[in-house]
Symmetry: C2
Subunit: 331 residues, 2 copies
DNA sequence: TCAAGGTGCTAATACGAATTATCGAGCGGC
DNA sequence: GCCGCTCGATAATTCGTATTAGCACCTTGA
């Protein structure tokens, strides 16, 4: 079209104009004009093959990116990711093609598309440990949203500071006079659960109180509530928002008053849809902020920016709520 | 390692063993063994470069893809798009970098990344006519979610069958005894509005009733309600769900009964957030299904599949609701 | 013994852009 | 007229894989 070589087009496209390469302004204009009228775009694949980057960030989730459930837990992360990517002029590639095998999506498979993008943001409650290890050892640029334990090396992540947030909530309960607190949930398994449990234990140990633990797996809300009352617990610290909702509703049906008879502290936002009008005391997970920062960290890694801290904990936002009250004085 | 050529490795890797290509079983085994021990994986980037397509589908929206507003209108489309893409093994590229100019996002601009994908799904109430024309004439593979008039040629689309759905609702009203029906809304402009208006007119014309039209632009709910009552309208057919909500609430505040005093029929789901406990009679837009089918059509076009119908109308799902009742007999 | 036909593999090339060494033109200065 | 220099643009190569024509070797049959 312009009677100019492919090399020149490439140079113009990339705005190269340093010491070694010079393009006459007139030629540059001609090429740019042709590009504008034809809508030509450099093939990202070829670009990546030749230059090793294409300004595309992959997003891998272990669940659908656009989930059906209302009030979806992952949505705010994606909002943050999109915002930051847009600001940085990066496009997002949703790695939706990852097939499900063994009950969950897998990153590595026959036709792994991960490397089509410059780097990748990983999203999910718990990431597969083997896959994580492989990513780390292969030196793939990626960031996990949510803290992860080392996996053959330190894992870059942007996580929520659950230990601090949980400890703060528990201290509030202690300050209100509670002495019998119980943790309702797994308290182990995914890092996010273990972190909450640690945050639960610390202030209790400091105060010389016994940390009780009520595992929720395979137990109905009724069983849990019974166990709580039987143990004389006055403040329940629930890992899963939805569990808190179930127990609170049940307690009310039984004529108990929340929080007068039982305080309930929720450790984060609902991960399962749970509708309630109860304003739980606890904290919010800075999801949008985490999404945003994960993209920041990823691009920092890609540019080998020495100032980038590859492991970040973002503080959670405390929620006063209405489910914490001093315990009833039981003689 | 195996003293075998790169071509042979490629052949083994892809399990090619058809008429033209043969690999000795012994050689194949040797290569496979080497692959296993080294953990070699073909570079997906180079693979795509050679294959000349990338199994990436672009998604262009005129609004943010991950919107902050709750109950977002576009979300279900994206759910369907993702589901279908996943099934087909395609990745999605969110074209988030489209800048806003002239008050809206534009597809074509200096740094147009549209062609970066194999094809593209277009989402938005109304697409720019000039841009659409350009897409058609340039022969870009794309599909519009929502019916579009010809733009320099037929536009591939997957739309909702508004004419039929609207006509069905209106016929229900006629069957219930209504004779004075009015269409509240634009009734023109975007194809989706014009289609509704057509569906509104047809059954009224057949029944020999006068189709009335109340444009909503720049008129408050109060003005609209006054106009309705003044004209003796007994059934209002509202284009915009949110308008229906506003009018219904106002009517109730004035002591009117919905639907006894005024029936209200909603032509689709809310495009603006509108909270209400009213169960409107009308229909639902098969958004997820439309998203799904749009990806089907797009891949059909890409594969030049002759069986693919590039223009589809998906039926809407009727909603019985509680805002339609026989009109009061006014002597 | 030689053509015909089959078998197993490789050399060469394409894919589309990025990069680099190099080439040619124009211009002063001597 | 020649050297040296700058400016502009290009030919050639690279990235890693897929594809295809074709080569060398072997077997078979007459």
């Amino acid at each position: 079209m312009t009677g100019v070589s492919q090399a020149t087009v490439s140079l113009v496209l990339n705005g190269r104009d340093d010491g070694n390469v010079r393009i006459a302004p007139e030629t540059r204009e001609r090429v740019l004009h042709a590009i504008r009228t034809t809508g030509y775009v450099a093939d990202p694949v070829a670009r990546r093959l030749a230059a090793r980057h294409n300004r595309i960030l992959g997003v891998f989730t272990y669940e659908p990116v656009f989930p059906t459930g209302t009030g979806d837990f992952y949505h705010p992360f994606l909002v943050g990711i999109e915002e930051c990517a847009e600001r940085l002029g990066c496009d997002l590639l949703l790695l939706t093609s990852a097939p499900v095998s063994g009950g969950r999506r897998r990153i590595f498979h026959d036709d792994n598309r991960l490397r089509l993008a410059d780097g990748c943001v990983l999203l999910g409650r718990s990431l597969d440990r083997d896959e994580l290890t492989r990513l780390v050892t292969e030196g793939q640029p990626f960031v996990s949203v949510g803290r992860r334990d080392d996996a053959g090396g330190p894992v870059p992540y942007v996580g929520a500071d659950y230990p601090t947030a949980t400890a703060t909530v528990v201290r509030r309960a202690l300050a209100a006079g509670h002495t019998a607190l119980a943790y309702l949930g797994q308290g182990a398994g995914p890092e996010s659960h273990a972190d909450r449990m640690r945050g639960f234990r610390t202030p209790l140990d400091e105060a010389g109180r016994t940390p009780r633990h009520l595992p929720t797996t395979d137990r109905s809300p009724a069983e849990l509530l019974d166990a709580l009352l039987a143990a004389g617990v006055t403040a329940a610290v629930v890992e899963e928002y939805a569990d808190g909702v179930a127990i609170a509703q049940l307690a009310r049906e039984r004529g108990l008053d929340i929080p007068a008879d039982l305080s309930i502290l929720a450790l984060g936002d609902p991960t399962r849809p749970a509708s309630t009008d109860i304003d739980f005391t606890g904290f919010r997970i800075p999801r949008r902020e985490m999404g945003w920062q994960s993209v920041e960290v990823l691009t920092g890694l890609l540019e080998a920016d020495p100032d980038t801290v590859p492991q970040r904990l973002v503080p959670c936002q405390p929620v006063d709520g209405a489910t914490l009250a001093p315990p009833k004085v039981t003689p």
